[in-house]
């Protein structure tokens, strides 16, 4: 009996499952970084499939900036409940309250996530941290390994990466070091959406078009919130919008959209002329090498 050739989504799914199992076999304390966004929700779905009918053999870690949309927190809690997962939450607010971090003048908390992340990795002695990064997102990520070694400071050194050959992953690390693991490295944004549709994966409602009061800043539609704004001449307007990524509310913009179903979103993504990070993430616009700099510092 011969088996049919895998289609693209089956091939990507099998590769991701292989990566999850390899890490579960070689590491003592893995964890999935979970934001409630579509990529980390996809990670959880793939992890469930990798170990079914047994439960996922590692917990989730959410670095909560405190600037999250309530729909996303609600979604997170229901997902954890439904799948019987364990969840750790690192509240950025706790780090601000005890003085380990200082609020930035612009109110943005995205750059503040790195310290709570690294502190949590140390506290829980996590040795492998799964992230939803994809190589198609940005040029520096295109050179990222699937299993990527980080030193005790969480830093990425792009010039001393281990070669990654065949599907043989080298997870050796010293005490105090950990690895970041990117099981969906080879997926594109469109692959993610098509797979979410095929598998019927539930997402937070903010990914679908809805009416929301937003204001314009730096070419992006931002929602009113504790992160500040609207300021000065920025005026609130009621618009039909949706989010393409889930991140800190201060720098994650909505796009104007009427796409309220997965079919409509896939049509919109197919026709879109902007990458998801470029369209809606102010933190990537700071400089040409913005992502590379943040990855070197231990960012996701």
């Amino acid at each position: 009996m011969t088996a049919p050739v895998l289609d693209a989504l089956d091939a990507l799914e099998s590769e991701s499952i292989h990566i999850f199992r390899e890490v579960a076999g070689e590491f003592d304390r893995p964890v999935i970084l979970f934001s409630g966004g579509k990529d980390s929700t996809l990670l959880v779905h793939l992890a469930v499939k990798a170990f079914a009918p047994a439960p996922v053999p590692f917990p989730l870690l959410h670095v909560d900036t405190g600037h999250n949309y309530p729909e996303v927190i609600d979604f997170r809690d229901r997902l954890v409940e439904r799948l019987g997962l364990r969840l750790h939450v690192a509240h950025v607010q706790d780090w601000i309250d005890d003085g380990r971090l200082t609020e930035r003048p612009d109110g943005t908390r995205n750059p503040l996530q790195t310290v709570p992340l690294l502190d949590s990795i140390n506290e829980h002695r996590f040795d492998a941290v799964f992230g939803g990064g994809r190589r198609d997102e940005e040029r520096a990520r295109a050179k990222e390994r699937i299993i990527s070694l980080r030193d005790a400071f969480g830093r990425w050194d792009p010039r001393s990466q281990r070669p990654e050959l065949w599907n043989l992953y080298n997870g050796r690390h010293a005490a105090g070091e950990h690895v970041r693991v990117f099981p969906i490295s080879n997926w594109t944004e469109l692959d993610v959406w098509r797979y979410i549709q095929r598998e019927g994966i539930e997402l937070p409602s903010i990914y679908f078009a809805h009416r929301r009061e937003v204001f314009r800043r730096d070419g992006m539609w931002l929602a009113e919130g504790p992160w500040g704004g609207p300021r000065g001449a920025e005026g609130l307007e009621l618009r039909s919008v949706r989010y393409r990524t889930v991140g800190d509310g201060s720098c994650t913009g909505a796009v104007e959209s009427t796409a309220s179903t997965l079919d409509e979103i896939i049509d919109e993504v197919t026709a879109s002329r902007l990458t998801e990070r470029g369209a809606t993430r102010a933190d990537d616009r700071l400089s040409e090498a913005a992502m590379e700099d943040r990855k070197r510092e231990g960012y996701f």
Binding site: T2, A142, L165
Partner: protein, 435 residues
Amino acid sequence: MARDLLRFATAGSVDDGKSTLVGRLLYDTKSVLADQIEAVERASVDKGMSTPDLSLLVDGLRAEREQGITIDVAYRYFGTPTREFVLADTPGHVQYTRNTVTGASTAELAVLLVDARNGIVEQTRRHAAVLALLRVPRLVLAINKIDLVGFDEETLTTIAKDFSGLARSVGFADEAVQVIPVSALAGDNVVERSTRTPWYDGPTLLGHLESVPVAGPEVSAPFRMPVQYVIRPRAGALPDAEERWGPLHDYRGYAGQVASGTVSPGDEVVVLPGGARTTVAAVDTADGPLDAAGAGRSVTIRLTDDIDISRGDLIAAAGAAPRVGSEIEATLCWLADKPLRAGARLLLKHGARTTQVIVGALGERLDVDSVRFVDPPEALTVNDIAMVSLRTADPLPVDDYADIRATGSFLLIDPPTGNTLAAGLVGAPLAVVEA
């Protein structure tokens, strides 16, 4: 028909225009989005250029942009209505063996670039030898910059003839090789067929990439699957698992990715290195059992007999099992700055098993410039390729790399630092034919 996925690699020398070719493929398949184009246009203006430099689309790291070179393998993604592509873009000059070996290890096809003005050069021979060694199933020679030789047919014919001889001498079958004249800068024959090469009746580069089979020879090889993880939900299952899966108290499944061949319920298998024989009871996935699973599919296999199996074991077709032993003759691609001498004690990762290894005698070294094997060296240094004898602490079930890539490949790892030192290929997969 469903869209499938082709993994391929590109290789070329400095200044052959590889980054431009890759940029052209992305640009002409509309895989580059407006904000990326704007970023490249801004950067091109900053560098004082009059037209957008498509190569900037693919140079990722700051050091690369500053120095105008490509340091590391980069992965690119594009798609057409019929197929998705994962491209491993391997730079030519810095650590070319390391990068080419890395890119070629997952590729079902490689695109090798030459400059039409220079034809086959030393680096073309090196790349062809490494791609042959890595058993990349298919090869494209893209003759670039044909605009700079006036779209001359005779130039193409001469280079194609030279290359056919080279490809044949390192073991590529004629039908595995396609020669395509292109201009990456102007776009001729990359995605759009050129009107300036009326004498060329072959496919465009993209047309060829869209039409070759995506599957390698593993599909028709005997069944192999390394066990990555043992799934025993006894201690606790997914909340709805018993409703979907039935009673799970005795469930014991062996999780892995099919490395070669096909597996179906009822198949006779052997578990190695132990040697116990049994029968496949079921091929499970989270979406339900399969009648058959082929190479590349991640599955969970249940067996009819209760055998002690753990991570690192290999399940293989009982009638065509790999050999098991601790003495392994292999070809090493040495990737590290630290030299290798006989007697070194290292770690070896094969499939899902890592074991200790002692390096025995160093054998003949491949001189990649002449594509000849020469006398054994005192030590292997970075980018060296040589035969070697290894002795492993645990017996390993191996195939020759030339027969099955997945069970014929391994890594050598430095115990103190954990660094990957070498790519290992069981046997002597490069059969050089004397011209």
